[in-house]
Subunit: 258 residues, 2 copies
């Protein structure tokens, strides 16, 4: 049955790739939910059905958690809808709520899968540091009152670059997947108005991995964990040595490369 | 009766000045409301009463409309509460909702009035211009798809600097107050990510004046109104020649000087 359904979807004429941004604040994550909680995928599939005249079933590059945002989530779906590609962005945005925005739409080859064809992903994490919280960034950054030592954070973060066993930063519930991932680039920089931006470029990320790294690296910034201890936490390959999971509202799925 | 109440408030020992920022998105403006709609003043007076142990009655530098934000609203109130001034900011913020933040607190002379002692005010208006709306600024800027001619807007805006009769930009309902105001400085600049910031420094602003100027200046930016026509609109002293009132979510009471 399941296979027939999948083949039916694949039998459709066109494979469409969308890049989208969303404010995750009002959604229970990206992945389709039942039981009266709203996910970005629910809204998107419902609205795409209006524009394309087909029942739509999306595949997505990454599953963002409740409250997590996206600048550059990527999805694809098969459709027989005939709307020209150059009209898609405006047409879809005209029916979407304001907190979900299509940034681009292209028709791609039948083999393209937003999920399986992804080469690497970039996540952004935003912290607002300062004596006074900013009411305009409270839903878009993690507020930390105490001063953070940015250069200590940078030095500690340099140690996660490369191929590592990231078991220390995986979600406690995650037991089945391989914990080996490669991080190509990390940056940590202070922007204007006390905003600190951390970018992570890698070939894949474990569930909660970025938020667990952030929770631990903030302890380095606060002087509660030394750079040597951070190295030991990685080497321990055990979740219990790392810091708490950083809040969802600072995290953004920033970019996916194919 | 009213006078006795006012004197009772004035008989209290201390006069406290607060500078505050708020996200106006969930409030029916600053000014205290009855009938089950929530204003920033309602929340503030209720929470200050907890910290100061007095019934609090605020005076504010400016009344922001529903949906309008503030970086630097100023209020004052009289109290017999004994909390030291250096503890006030954290104490008050600890009981306020996250969308209202006290930035500073000082004890001032008995004659200080946030409303009547104000010398000049700065308003900021933010526009997001670009092909694609940004879901993260939708509540903090006016989204305009079409390209705006910033230098035409700057040239037109230069004409409002100085003392003028701003009748063309006053709210239609506002008939009693003098329409003469002095604008000291105006700026209009494109920031990163398509955000255009317009600052207005003046000795006072009529109700809806900034939003009506913005609605008109955007027509200049779109090429629908020439710089000469903008000059004629000012000279006409008649609201019907100006553009529509720009949306509330782009406006910020930025700073008040005493």
């Amino acid at each position: 049955m399941k296979k027939n359904h999948k083949e039916m979807m694949k039998a459709r004429k066109r494979n469409i790739k969308l890049v989208l941004a969303y404010d995750g604040g009002h959604y229970h994550g990206f992945q389709r939910q039942t039981n009266h909680v709203l996910a970005v995928q629910n809204v998107l599939e419902e609205k795409l059905a209006i524009i394309f005249g087909d029942e739509i079933e999306l595949a997505a590059a990454g599953r963002t958690d409740a409250g997590v945002h996206a600048y550059g989530q990527v999805v694809n779906f098969f459709t027989d809808g005939t709307i020209p590609v150059e009209r898609m962005v405006r047409a879809i945005n005209s029916v979407l709520p304001e907190d979900i925005v299509i940034r681009s739409a292209v028709e791609v080859g039948r083999d393209f899968s937003a999920r399986h064809s992804a080469k690497d992903k970039t996540y952004l994490y935003r912290i607002q540091q300062g004596d006074i919280p900013n009411p305009f960034t409270r839903q878009y950054a993690w507020y930390i009152r105490k001063k953070l030592d940015i250069s200590a954070m940078q030095m500690a973060l340099a140690q996660i670059v490369g191929e590592h066993d990231f078991s220390s930063f995986k979600a406690a519930s995650n037991v089945t997947m391989s914990p080996i991932r490669t991080i190509y680039e990390v940056s940590c920089e202070e922007k204007s108005e006390g905003i600190i931006e951390l970018f992570f470029l890698g070939n894949g990320f474990l569930y909660h991995m970025v938020r667990n790294i952030i929770g631990t690296i903030v302890n380095v910034g606060l002087g509660q964990t030394t750079i040597e201890q951070f190295q030991e936490i990685i080497a321990a390959k055990n979740r219990k040595y790392a810091g708490a999971t950083a809040p969802a509202q600072g995290l953004y799925l920033y970019k996916v490369t194919y």
